[in-house]
């Protein structure tokens, strides 16, 4: 790979990460802020996190089914062609970083949202959503080392690999939900 192309990639992913982080921090801050309005219901609301996590875990195992509350849209891929890689990266980051406005495949996101509203701490909210975003952006950084590409079909292979690993993601997500439920119970007992 020639250096200018590699540099462009690094710049684009960096911009994607930073712009998404800005969105995520803002959303987390707002969620925490929203929680301050619900402080009088806190004693009841604290049980939403463990209860929700257990219900979502039951959904993950297939015991119950209900649709994920989400907007069934991806971000606009056409921005890449319309605005070029750097500007598109910024716009993708800002859009996806908001969290609520694109697909939410796994319910762990909603557990985090509930937790942030309940804590009513905007700084902590920003911190948690920032971590969520960094987790979301990290696969973009490591994509080149996870992908075999010698024929220009890297994107397809990455997606095929991700599809094959869906069972693993589901299991890890289930583990994450159960951990969240435990943390939620301990926090509820201590009233956060």
């Amino acid at each position: 790979m020639k250096w200018p192309r590699k540099r462009l990639w690094i710049e684009a992913v960096f911009i994607y990460t930073v712009s998404g982080l800005a969105s995520a921090l803002a959303v987390g801050w707002l969620l925490g802020r929203t929680g301050t309005l619900l402080v009088q219901f806190k004693s009841v609301l604290v049980w939403i996190v463990p209860l929700g996590a257990v219900i979502f875990a039951a959904r993950d195992t297939g015991w119950i089914f209900f649709p994920v509350p989400e907007r069934k849209v991806q971000t606009e891929s056409i921005w890449f062609h319309q605005f070029g890689p750097l500007q598109a990266a910024a716009m993708w980051g800002l859009h996806i970083g908001l969290g609520f406005f694109t697909r939410i495949t796994y319910m762990g996101f909603w557990v985090l949202v509930a937790a942030l509203v309940i804590t009513g701490d905007s700084r902590f909210g920003a911190l948690v959503m920032g971590c969520y975003w960094l987790g979301r952006a990290l696969p973009a950084w490591v994509a080149p080392v996870l992908t075999v590409h010698d024929d220009g079909k890297a994107g397809l292979r990455m997606m095929a690999d991700a599809t094959e690993q869906r069972v693993l993601f589901r299991r890890l997500h289930l583990a994450g939900l159960l951990c969240s439920a435990l943390v939620g119970i301990f926090l509820a007992l201590g009233s956060w």
């Binding site: 991806q74 891929s77 605005f83 971590c131 979301r136 973009a140 590409h149 890297a154 991700a162 997500h173």
Partner: protein, 76 residues
């Protein structure tokens, strides 16, 4: 408009890391390792959660959030 004349038949799916892949199509080839990377990241999150819980219990949500984020992108 200029962008309308371009061929955009190539797959771009930013939420699956597609943007990075699209832009990195010519980076040096290496073996696929999404599964290994996911396990390593999950383990890292677990270790972080264990460490942070000593500081304050709610900080356990930070690595869990990171794990949920990784899963959301990788497992889409």
């Amino acid at each position: 408009m200029k962008w309308m004349t371009k061929n955009y038949s190539q797959p771009i799916a930013p939420e699956t890391g597609g943007m990075a892949v699209e832009l990195a199509a010519a980076l040096p080839a290496k073996p696929a390792g999404l599964q290994r990377a996911t396990w390593m990241f999950a383990l890292l999150c677990l270790l972080l959660a264990a460490s942070l819980a000593r500081m304050e219990l709610r900080y356990e949500l930070l690595p869990l959030a990171g794990l949920f984020g990784w899963i959301q992108t990788g497992g889409l």
